[in-house]
């Protein structure tokens, strides 16, 4: 499948099945469009010569009023070279890998530990319902946490790098247990030839020098939740007494990051219908001195007045464009910052197996509740039909993992003709479950935003390549 688009003055051609990305001039852009329009991929690939006389004549017929004949023929010749190299009009050759993927033996390599089902903020959009996850308030004990580490090691096969995310609610409400679990994991690394990558997601309320030092030493990544401008943040992220959290939290985040050196972190916000001009919030992060940024669209029921609706998409797309332009500008000024959804690795990105197997929820990645129950991911916690087992007994419902394992971009009809399928790998299972027709469906609004972000991420890579 070939996908063509124009963005920020660049003509971009994606050969979806090979992953090749091409920057082309107007002539080649139109030549590729005409060939795609005249022939389907099967016909092109059944041909022994893409420069055959009839094809040339048909393309010339369509384009000779617009372009010089020699230019058109040159462009056809270059298109032929790309086709021969397997970088244009490439046929899908991964379908044959599907049985392998469905049957593949997976090992658990990542856990999301719900260290606290409690929170000291009352964020209005929280899918964890202020930490309660459709259930009771609870803190994970160190005993359950250690059993989770044992479960992970026992189920991780030969995998060396293991990931444990401390999540909530607000994990720092149970900081002593976080410390104990980290120490326990570290104590087992040599014995089992494993390396733990710990991460933590926090709202920052409880940060202090001792916690900062611990996080900066032990956490491979730290996700700091903040929504941007003070008025935006304080509307959605108040304390339980209704007071805004911005002024209290920002200095704490700045203090943590000042001491973090070059280790990874994200300042991560959520945008809603209340701030469709969210590029201003990303810029606020940058102006506060942060340079590793993320801003996620809220995912919630349409009945909530702050939910993202279909009619908001044109404004959101414009805003993603504005954000790209600001980022390219700031980069030139030496004040660049990264944006999670615009990070794309075109030359060392994931292998095909990773792209075909998706996020790994229920198979490689599991969520653990404070009392040790296992769920496919943090967003399924509290849904009885998705309870997979517990850290004591292990997986007692393997059929749930099988269901997720056999779900990929080829089993999702909506992914078939989508150019972004190998970038999102079929999207978020929880979103499809909650807002689509099931795991093999998609969350359409989310897909449309993802496609826009992929387009912009690729455009920005191209812009930087051209400047080099």
């Amino acid at each position: 499948m070939v996908y063509q688009y124009k963005s920020n003055g660049y003509n971009i051609v994606l050969d979806v099945d090979s992953g090749a990305v091409h920057l082309v001039d107007d002539t080649a852009f139109d030549v590729i469009a005409v060939i795609s329009w005249l022939y389907d991929e099967e016909e092109i690939n059944a041909s022994t010569d893409l420069e055959k006389k009839s094809l040339k004549e048909e393309v010339l017929d369509e384009l000779s009023d617009t372009y010089d004949e020699k230019d058109i023929l040159d462009a056809i010749s270059e298109v032929k070279t790309l086709w021969e190299e397997g970088k244009l009009f490439t046929e899908d050759s991964y379908t044959e890998l599907i049985p392998q993927i469905k049957e593949r033996k997976t090992v658990v390599k990542a856990l999301c530990l719900h260290i606290a089902h409690d929170c000291n903020l009352a964020c209005k959009y929280c899918f964890a319902e202020e930490g309660e996850y459709h259930g009771r308030r609870a803190l994970m004990s160190s005993e359950v946490g250690k059993k989770a580490i044992d479960f992970l090691i026992a189920n991780s096969g030969n995998r060396h790098n293991l990931e444990v995310d401390f999540f909530g609610g607000e994990p720092l409400m149970n900081f002593d247990v976080v410390k104990e679990i980290v120490a326990y994991g570290r104590s087992l690394e040599d014995k089992y030839n494993k390396h733990f990558r710990f991460t933590i997601t926090t709202n920052g309320v409880l940060l202090n020098d001792e916690i900062d030092d611990f996080i900066n030493k032990e956490m491979d990544n730290v996700v700091l939740s903040l929504d941007g401008r003070k008025e935006i943040n304080d509307k959605m992220r108040p304390f339980r007494n209704g007071q805004g959290s911005f002024d209290y939290i920002v200095p704490k985040f700045q203090n943590l990051i000042k001491k973090r050196g070059d280790k990874k972190y994200y300042v991560r916000g959520t945008f809603t219908r209340n701030n469709l001009d969210f590029a201003n919030d990303v810029v606020t992060f940058a102006d506060l001195g942060f340079d590793q940024l993320s801003m996620e669209p809220v995912v919630t029921d349409l009945e909530n007045d702050y939910s993202i609706r279909e009619e908001d998409l044109p404004k959101i797309f414009d805003e993603y464009d504005r954000l790209s332009e600001i980022m390219l500008e700031r980069e030139k000024e030496g004040k660049g910052f990264t944006f999670f959804h615009y990070m794309i690795d075109l030359n060392g990105g994931p292998c095909v197996s990773k792209r075909l197997s998706g996020c790994g929820s229920a198979t490689e990645y599991l969520a653990v509740t404070p009392w040790g129950d296992l769920y496919p991911c943090h967003q399924f916690v509290g849904e009885d039909d998705y309870l997979m087992g517990n850290v004591e007994e292990g997986i007692t419902h393997p059929e749930i993992a099988d269901k997720f394992r056999s779900c990929n971009v080829f089993t999702k009809p909506k992914c078939n003709d989508c150019f972004a399928k190998f970038y999102c790998s079929g999207g978020c299972a929880a979103n499809a479950h909650q807002y689509g027709e099931g795991l093999n469906d998609c969350y359409d609004i989310g897909c449309q935003m993802e496609r826009k972000r992929v387009e912009n991420a690729i455009m920005m890579k191209i812009a930087k390549t051209v400047e080099e």
Binding site: A20, S93, R197, F340, N347, R355, F422, C428
Partner: protein, 46 residues
Amino acid sequence: MKHVKTITKDTYKNTVKKGGCGECQTSCQSACKTSCTVGNQTCENK
């Protein structure tokens, strides 16, 4: 080439040979938690 500049150096097909070790990061452990972003993960088996 005069009309085309290819930005990518490799194709997915070539990653089949080295792929599947699984040592790379799980996508939801980074910063999203509410979407799925696999394309921006980095291969750890270069």
